[in-house]
């Protein structure tokens, strides 16, 4: 069940076709696998290796470099509290202490009901809106301890399921290129001349 589903396999093949070299599709495909199961299983890595023509060990090598990839199940909601400078100056550590108390786990831990994984995150690029956090990579800005309590309440009550999908789902919109519009990826070995528009004339 951990290999890509038929539906995702179609998406995977569309992604692979966009790159001059198949291995380039690996990180987007790892995201796809994580979207399917919430984490990346061994079977998924074997499957991705088959799809892009590398060994599963190479897939694992790439995957383990990147923090967003998980190799065992985590909570439905990953709460990443930023702790880098701008947020730290504005009370991120206090927010983290509050979150640890409220959820009953330390940073890095998952609640027993499997709902929440709490994590310390590095700069999330919302520095003027400190302290900030992300739930499954959806922002919450200038978060007070009261805000955090309300957020947890809402997530527990299922009020935000529309906005915040379960862990693994990243962008809800995918790029899709219609066959009649695509230029197509070509292996660099097969190209040895300048593109057509570099002919010294205006293109229009």
């Amino acid at each position: 069940m951990s290999r890509l589903s038929d539906k995702n396999l179609v998406i995977a093949k569309e992604i692979i076709a966009r790159y001059p070299r198949q291995k380039s599709a690996l990180i987007p495909l790892l995201h796809l696998a994580q979207e399917q199961t919430g984490y990346i299983s061994r079977e998924a890595m074997v499957h991705l290796g088959e799809l892009v023509g590398v060994t599963s060990a190479e897939v694992y090598g790439t995957a383990t470099f990147y923090e967003m990839f998980r190799f065992e199940p985590i909570g439905k909601y990953l709460v990443n509290i930023c702790g880098t400078m701008s947020c730290a100056l504005m009370g991120a550590h206090e927010l983290m202490h509050h979150a640890e108390k409220r959820l009953g786990v330390k940073a890095g831990g998952t609640t027993q009901d499997g709902m929440f994984t709490l994590a310390h995150a590095e700069c999330q690029a919302a520095c003027t809106e400190a302290p900030c956090l992300q739930v499954n990579y959806r922002y919450r800005l200038r978060v007070s301890t009261t805000d955090l309590d309300k957020l947890i309440d809402d997530l527990e009550a299922g009020k935000l399921s529309e906005e915040i999908p379960a862990h693994g789902v990243l962008a809800k919109v995918r790029q899709h290129i219609a066959p009649d519009r695509v230029v197509g990826a070509v292996s660099p070995e097969l190209v040895n001349q300048a593109p057509a528009w570099l002919n010294g004339k205006a293109a229009l």
């Binding site: 070299r21 100056l89 690029a125 919302a126 809800k172 919109v173 995918r174």
Partner: protein, 474 residues
């Protein structure tokens, strides 16, 4: 709780020229409909009605500086690729993760078509046959907005085969990362785009312009740099260079965070706006929160050596900030007021860089971690005075020689100019040391008051001990 959207107040204040943020005031700024109603894709049309080399010349003579951190002129960068090697690629660096920086995220979320148009103009001018738009993994909304915009633009004939019915054809491929700061370094970005661990490559031989993606000539440009191009092509070089100064024309986006009254992301005039304008100006941040005193500020993202009030009157001009001992970097100012615990603040940054080290270069992998551990024990109250020296010695392994720092009248310090020497491939290692060095140089007393004096046993006492037969020895 505040809205999901950031509400950076800078966008509505004042009547400064807006080159890249002109559409931010519209709620539907990210749609093709709004974009077309506000001069959208006119720059592309203007570009395509002239030969490609003329467009390249325009970008060169406008001196569009790179907005990613190094500040290298984009037109010059495009000219560094070899003449007769094809294909060439464009890689867009949207992996924004420098502490304090956020402008590319806003440009991608709020005006994705402007970025797409900028990519097209660059590909046309420099003869690049495929574009890869690499967005940071954690930015789900930016990925959604750019994907939606690309889908619209492809359908409307602005991207893909025979753009606007011409012989110009290029694909823009949305690619996204998975959480690694170092991938913001251009050679690491290329490694990551090839499906590998995102570790920087050694330069030479791997200068991207010559030997980049798949070993081909590759231009890596920052999101904000490319977002400038549609306006430039619509309004011309003369209009662009009337804003700002000769060496730093146009505007740039700067995020001011930390202890100010109104933190925000502002589009400021390049070259003339000073740090004082930005931190204390009424149209910008309006001063330090609770009217406290300014203690220090980071002028150009977490990697930059710190400034204090002595440097407030410096403008956003690399040729002045460099000799003053720091860098403008990625357009991020982090402000610390008098209540700031300096060693603890430095620790948050050093922790960041130690954590983000990819592990390729020993001085960074080991040194960054050492710096963090020593700093942490000082902050926790377990440090000794020898630790202060140790911090500098570890730092010297990453950056031998004088490390840049600002002048300080009260301490009698004269500036050591930027840049530094380094024993690592990329800037992650030196960046771990920069906050430590700045904090120790400018605020040494705060460290000294926190460490205990180490009591050493005199040499004579040690030799006296040696004459005593150990207990239990036979």
């Amino acid at each position: 709780m505040s809205a999901t959207y950031s509400h950076a107040p800078g966008f509505v204040a004042g009547d400064r020229p807006k080159i890249v943020t002109s559409r931010f005031e519209f709620a539907d700024s990210f749609t093709l409909e709004r974009y077309l109603a506000t001069n959208g894709y006119k720059g592309l049309r203007a570009a395509l009605s002239r030969p490609a080399n003329e467009i390249h010349d325009d970008v060169k003579s406008a001196t569009v500086l790179g907005r990613g951190g190094a500040g290298f002129p984009a037109g010059t960068k495009w000219g560094l690729t070899p003449q007769q090697v094809w294909p060439k690629y464009l890689v867009v660096n949207g992996d924004e993760s420098e502490p304090g920086t956020y402008k590319d995220r806003l440009l991608m979320e709020r005006d994705p078509h402007q970025l797409i148009e900028g990519c097209l103009i660059a590909c046309y001018a420099a003869g690049l046959s495929q574009c890869f738009l690499y967005i940071r993994g954690e930015m789900a909304l930016a990925q959604e907005r750019v994907a939606a915009a690309l889908n619209e633009a492809y359908a409307a004939g602005y991207v893909g085969k025979n753009i606007l019915g011409s012989n110009f054809s290029v694909d823009i491929i949305l690619h996204w990362g998975a959480g690694a700061y170092v991938v913001g370094e251009e050679t690491a970005l290329i490694e990551s785009l090839e499906g590998n661990r995102g570790m920087p490559r050694l330069k030479p031989p791997f200068f991207p312009a010559v030997n980049g993606l798949y070993g081909q000539p590759t231009i890596v440009n920052n999101v904000e740099t490319l977002a400038n191009l549609p306006w430039l092509l619509c309004n011309g070089v003369a209009a662009y260079t009337t804003v700002g100064t000769k060496t730093s024309p146009g505007t740039r986006m700067v995020a001011v965070s930390g202890h100010v009254k109104r933190p925000g992301v502002f589009e400021i005039i390049n070259g003339t706006t000073t740090f004082r304008d930005l931190i204390f100006g009424e149209e910008f941040c309006g001063g330090i929160r609770n009217d406290k005193q300014l203690k220090a500020f980071v002028p150009g993202g977490g990697s930059a050596p710190w400034f204090t009030a002595d440097q407030l009157d410096l403008p956003f001009e690399a040729s002045q900030v460099g000799p003053a001992g720091s860098m403008l970097g990625s357009g991020a100012v982090i402000v610390m007021d008098e209540t700031t615990d300096i060693p603890a603040a430095a620790l948050t940054l050093t922790h960041f860089y130690a954590h983000e080290s990819c592990g390729k270069c020993t001085p960074c992998r080991e040194g960054g971690t050492w710096l963090e551990r020593i700093l942490r024990r000082i902050v926790d109250g377990d440090g000794t005075d020898a630790d202060l020296q140790q911090l500098l010695e570890v730092g010297a392994m990453i950056c031998p020689g004088d490390f840049p720092h600002a002048a300080n009248e009260k301490l009698g310090l004269t500036a050591v100019p930027f840049p530094y020497k380094m024993t690592t491939i990329c800037f992650v290692g030196p960046s771990a040391f920069a906050p430590v060095h700045s904090a120790l140089t400018l605020f040494r007393s705060e460290f000294e008051s926190r460490v205990t004096k180490r009591v050493t046993i005199p040499v004579t006492a040690v030799s006296a001990v040696k004459t005593v037969t150990p207990v239990g020895a036979h």
